[in-house]
Symmetry: C2
Subunit: 589 residues, 2 copies
C-alpha cells in the first residue's frame, strides 16, 4: 500500500483489461498524430534541433505513466516551457550550439530533481505563490512573445531577443529580407490551421460525421498541413528559392545522455529551473484536476510533483529538454477516451516509431509550417476576457496581472514571473498586516454586538470593545498595538478595553507578545485589558502562556457578559482621577 | 497642519516653556554622561576610530528631534547596528582603514535614504516581516557574538571574525599572548560595572537617596570606571606594559563628509543597509512605543521611518555611521524626565562640548574598559527566558527563533536575519495555504451548525456543508479545490454542496476562479454548489463577478434555511442515477 502511494501504476494496473486497452490504444494513436508536428515545432521554438522534441516525448511520458496520478494527462514539450528553456539556455550559449543543448539537458535534470524534492518534502504549497492573475497574465504575455518570435519564420527573416522590444525591432529591421515563397507557405498554413480549428469540425458534422469523430478528425489537421507543405517544397523545389526546411533528422531512438555536472552552470540555471518547474507544475496540475474532476477522480498534487519530476529526469537522460503536462494534448487524450496512463505509454511507442522510421519524410518540411502550428496553438493562450473580469472584481489582483504582463513583455519571462509573484506577495502581506477591525456596541434589547459605524448601538465611554476579524499573527501584531493604543488615546475616560476574539482563529508568538505589551501599556495608562469569546483551540494555546496570569482584566466566555459586568464595575470605580495627560489637566478633554 | 505631519517639531515646539526646558536640560545632562563612554565603545565595536561614535551622537540626534514623533527616544550608535556595520563594511575593506570608514558613511547614507523612502511610501509594514521570535533570537545571538568579540580586548590579544566559529578559534589560538595588566583592568572593570548595575542602586537607597536619584546616579557608573582606569594607566604607566589605550582623539566638531557615490560599492552594501535599516527601525519603534504608551502619547511609525532616516542621513554628512534609537539610553532619558525631543538636542550640545574639550582626557583610556562597558551592556540583550516561553507556546515560532540564533551564531548577522525572515514567511504561507475547515451538521432542535467531528449533529448523505474558517485567497485557492473535490469523491450520494462562508472575510480573484472551477467540476459530477452566510462586503464583490450567474445552486442568507430547503429538494429528486464511478457500478460504495 505504501509502495502504491509512490507508484500509482500498481493501483490502476490491477484493473487493466481488454476494453480499457482498446480505449487507451485509440487515444494513443490520435495523440501521436497530433504530437509529431507539435514536438518538432516546440523544440525549434526552444532553439533546439527538432528531433529533441521527439526524444522529449518518449521516455518522459513513460516515467509520468509510472509515477503520475492523473489518468489522462499527456506530458511532453509545451510552448511556455519551451520559451523559458530558450531564455534560460540563451544566457549560457547561442541557440542550437552544443553547449546550448547541454544547458537544456541540465535544465531538465535540475527541474526534475527540484520537482521530486518538492514532492517528497511536501512543498507543493509553494506553487500557491503563483496566483491566478499572475499565471494568467504570464501565459498571455508568453503567448504574445512566442507568436511574435515565430513571425520571423513565417517571413523567412532573422530576428532575435526574448522580450518584445528587441524582437519587434530586429523583425522590422529585417523586413526587407522577406522571402516570398516562405511567406506564402506561412500565411496559407496559418490560415488553414485557423480554419481547421474553427470551421472544419462544423463542416464535418454537416457532412454527417458524429460530433466526437469530427472533433478528433479535426485534430489531425496539422498533419495535413505538414504533408501538403512538404510535398509543395519537394515538387516545386522551393528550397532553391530560399524556403528554410527542417533538414535531415537522425533516424534513431532517443540517445542516452548524461547532464553535465558543472557547478557554475548549475548556479546560473538554478533560478530559471525553479521558475520553469513551478510554472510547469501549476499548469499541469490545473489541467489534471479539470480532467480528473470530470470523472470524479482525484489527483494527488504532491505525487504529481514526483511524476513530473520523474518525467524531466527521464528527459535529461534521453536527449530531451524540460517537459510538463500540456493542456491541448491532454484534452485530446481525454476526449479520445484514454482511461489510464497506459495510453501515454502507447503514445510513447508511437512517437518512438516515428523517430525511427518517419523522420526522413520530414526533411523537406518547411519551418514556416511549424511556425504556423505554433502561432495557432499559442494564440489560444492569449486571454483577453480574464483581465476584464479581474479588473471588475479586484483592482489589486488586476495590478498584479498587469505588472506580470508588462514586465514579461518588456523584460522577458523570468523577470515577469518574479515581478508578479513579488507584487502578489507584497499585496497579500500588506492586506494581512492591516486586518479589518471594528469598534462594536450592543444592539439595544439584544445580546448582539455590532459595528458602531453601521448600527445604532449602546456604548459606554469607560468601556471600549474592539472586534478583530482576523487571526493575530506577526504580520499584524504591530498593527494591533498601534490600533489599540490609538483607540485608547482617543478615549480619555476609558477604564476597560475588551478585545472580542470571535473571528480570531489563531494567535502566534509575536501577537502574544504584542498582547502582553498592550496589557502592560494599558496598565500604565490605568486601563484594564479583557478578552471575550476566545475560541477553544486559541484558549488552549493561551493557557500555556503568561498572558492569562498577567492579564489586568479577565477572559470572558461571552461578550455580552463581559459588557454587562464591566458596566457595573465601572459605575463602582468611577471617581475622578489625576490624569497624566497635560491636555486633560487643562480641562481640554 | 500638513507641514506639522512631516515636522512634528512644529507641534510640540508651540507648548514649550520654562518648566519643560528645565526637565529637558536635566535629562540631557544625565544622558550625555552616559553616552560619552558608550559612543566611543560602540564605534570601536564597529571597527571605527572612537571619535566617530561621538560624531554619530551629535547631528543625528538633532535631525531626529526635528522629524521624529517620539518624545523620549534617544538616537545614536547602538550595539547590534554597530556589529552589523562591522560585518557589512568588513566585506569591503579591513576595519579601521579609510575605505572602511567610507563604507560606514555610505551605509549610513543608504540606510537613511531607504528609511525615508519607506516612510514616504508608507512601507513601514515591511518591518512586520521581522517576527518577534526572529528579532528576539537575532538580538540574543548578536549579544553573544559581541560579548565574545570583546573578550579579545579584555585579554589584550588579537581575534577576528564576525561569527562564533572563527571568533572562538582565533581567540583560543592567541590565548598565550594574554596581557596581564590588560586582563586585570578588563576583569575589574567588568565586575565593577556589573555591580553598578545590580548592587549600587540598592546601596544608594540604603544610604538614604531617593529611588529615582539612586537610579540615575547608578547610570553614571561607567564614567567612574572610565575615570579610574584612565588614571590607573597614567599613574602606573601601564601603556609601557602593553595596555592598549584609545590614543589621541582629534579635538573637533564633527567634520563635513560626503558619502562616496560608487555604484559597485552601493550594490555591495545595498542588502546589508536594508537589513540594518529594518532591524534598527524595529528595535527603535518598539522602544518608542513602550515609552509613549506610558504617557498615553502616540508615535507614528511611518513618520518614525522619516525621523530615523533623517538621523542616518545626518550621520553620513557629519563623519558618523549608522544609528538608531537605543533602548537603554531612551529609558534613561525618559526616567530622567525628558519631555520633548529638545532634550535630545541638548544632549547633542553636551556631546559636542565633549568632542571639543574632553577628548584629550580620553587618550589614556584603556580599551579594555570600553570592552567591559560593551560586555555589560550587551549581556543584558541575551534573553534566555523568551525561548522557553516560545517553546511552550508555539513550536513553529520556536523553530524560527532557533534557526535565527543558530545561523546568526554560525554564519553571521546577515544570513541569520535572512534565514529567520525566510523561515517565518514560509511557515506563515504554509499555514495560510491550509486553513481550518470543518464539515458541519445541524445541532438537533437548534438552528446552529457545528463540526461533525466534535458534536452529535444531523447530516444527510445527499447534502454536505463545509465551513471554511479563513478568507479565501490565492494561497489557499488550490487547497480549496483539492479539499472540496476530495470531500465530493468521498460522498458518492452527494447532490448539494454548501460552502458556509460565515468566517470568510474576503475572496480574491484566484479564489473566485477556484470557486468557478469547483462549480463547473461539481456540475460535471452532478452536484450543485451553494454558498451560505456570505458577509456583506464579500457579497458586494461577488455581485461584480460571473459566479453569481453561473452558480448551479443558490446563495443563501442563512445556513439553516439552505439546509432545510435542500433537504426537501433532495427528497424530490432522489431517483437512482447511473454513476460514472466504476467502483459504484460494481456496488462497492
Amino acid at each position: 500500500m505504501a509502495l502504491a502511494r509512490y507508484l500509482p501504476v500498481l493501483e490502476w494496473g490491477r484493473g487493466y483489461n481488454r476494453t480499457v486497452l482498446t480505449n487507451d490504444l485509440v487515444a494513443a494513436a490520435i495523440v501521436t498524430i497530433m504530437l509529431i508536428p507539435q514536438s518538432l515545432a516546440y523544440a525549434m521554438l526552444a532553439g533546439l534541433p527538432p528531433e529533441i522534441g521527439l526524444y522529449a516525448s518518449i521516455l518522459p511520458i513513460v516515467a509520468y505513466a509510472l509515477f503520475g496520478t492523473s489518468r489522462a494527462l499527456a506530458v511532453g514539450p509545451v510552448a511556455v516551457i519551451s520559451l523559458m528553456t530558450l531564455t534560460a539556455a540563451s544566457a549560457v550559449a547561442p541557440p542550437g550550439s552544443a553547449q546550448f543543448i547541454a544547458a537544456a539537458l541540465v535544465l531538465a535534470f535540475m527541474s526534475g530533481t527540484m520537482l521530486i524534492a518538492m514532492g517528497v518534502l511536501r512543498l507543493g504549497f509553494l506553487a500557491n505563490l503563483l496566483s491566478h492573475p499572475v499565471v494568467s497574465g504570464f501565459i498571455t504575455a508568453s503567448g504574445l512573445i512566442i507568436a511574435t518570435s515565430q513571425l520571423k519564420s513565417i517571413l523567412g527573416v532573422k530576428a532575435s531577443g526574448e522580450a518584445m522590444p528587441e524582437l519587434v525591432t530586429t523583425l522590422i529591421a529585417n523586413l526587407n529580407a522577406t522571402n516570398m515563397p516562405t511567406l506564402i507557405i506561412g500565411v496559407v498554413s496559418t490560415a488553414f490551421l485557423f480554419w481547421v480549428r474553427k470551421g472544419l469540425k462544423p463542416m464535418l458534422i454537416r457532412l454527417g460525421l458524429k460530433a466526437r469523430t469530427a472533433d478528433l478528425t479535426a485534430k489531425a489537421g496539422p498533419i495535413a498541413a505538414v504533408a501538403v507543405s512538404t510535398l509543395a517544397v519537394v515538387l516545386l523545389d522551393l528550397e532553391a528559392q530560399g524556403v528554410r526546411v527542417v533538414g535531415q533528422i537522425p533516424q534513431s531512438l532517443p540517445p542516452f545522455t548524461v547532464p553535465l555536472f558543472d557547478a557554475a552552470l548549475w548556479q546560473q540555471l538554478a533560478i530559471p529551473a525553479l521558475l520553469l518547474s513551478v510554472i510547469g507544475f501549476v499548469e499541469s496540475v490545473s489541467v489534471a484536476q479539470t480532467l480528473a474532476a470530470k470523472k470524479r477522480q482525484r489527483i494527488n498534487p504532491d505525487q504529481e510533483l514526483i511524476g513530473l519530476g520523474a518525467a524531466n529526469v527521464a528527459a535529461s537522460f534521453t536527449g530531451g529538454y524540460p517537459v510538463t503536462g500540456g493542456f491541448a494534448r491532454s484534452v485530446v487524450n481525454f476526449d479520445a477516451g484514454a482511461e489510464t496512463p497506459a495510453a501515454g505509454a502507447f503514445t510513447a511507442v508511437g512517437i518512438a516509431i516515428a523517430a525511427l522510421f518517419l523522420t526522413p519524410l520530414l526533411a523537406s518540411l518547411p519551418i514556416a509550417t511549424l511556425a504556423a502550428t505554433i502561432i495557432v496553438a499559442v494564440l489560444s493562450l492569449v486571454d483577453l476576457k480574464t483581465p476584464r473580469h479581474i479588473w471588475r472584481y479586484s483592482k489589486p489582483d488586476f495590478a498584479a496581472m498587469a505588472v506580470t504582463v508588462l514586465v514579461t513583455l518588456l523584460a522577458g519571462v523570468e523577470p515577469g514571473v518574479i515581478a508578479g509573484v513579488g507584487l502578489s506577495l507584497a499585496l497579500f502581506l500588506w492586506r494581512a498586516s492591516r486586518p479589518h477591525a471594528a469598534i462594536v456596541g450592543r444592539v439595544p434589547e439584544t445580546e448582539h454586538f455590532r459595528n458602531v459605524k453601521r448600527h445604532n448601538v449602546l456604548t459606554d465611554p469607560r468601556i471600549l470593545t474592539i472586534r478583530i476579524d482576523e487571526s493575530l499573527t506577526y504580520l499584524n501584531a504591530r498593527w494591533l498595538e498601534e490600533f489599540v493604543l490609538e483607540q485608547v488615546a482617543e478615549h480619555p475616560r476609558l477604564r476597560h478595553l475588551i478585545l472580542m476574539c470571535s473571528a480570531v482563529n489563531g494567535i502566534d508568538a509575536s501577537a502574544l507578545e504584542s498582547l502582553e505589551a498592550i496589557n502592560h501599556r494599558l496598565a500604565d495608562a490605568g486601563v484594564k485589558l479583557h478578552l471575550s469569546e476566545v475560541k477553544g483551540p486559541v484558549m488552549d494555546a493561551l493557557e500555556r502562556s503568561h498572558l492569562v496570569a498577567d492579564l489586568t482584566g479577565k477572559i470572558w466566555l461571552s461578550q455580552n457578559k463581559a459588557f454587562a459586568a464591566l458596566l457595573v464595575a465601572a459605575e463602582d470605580e468611577d471617581v475622578p482621577r489625576v490624569r497624566d495627560d497635560p491636555w486633560a489637566a487643562r480641562g481640554l478633554i
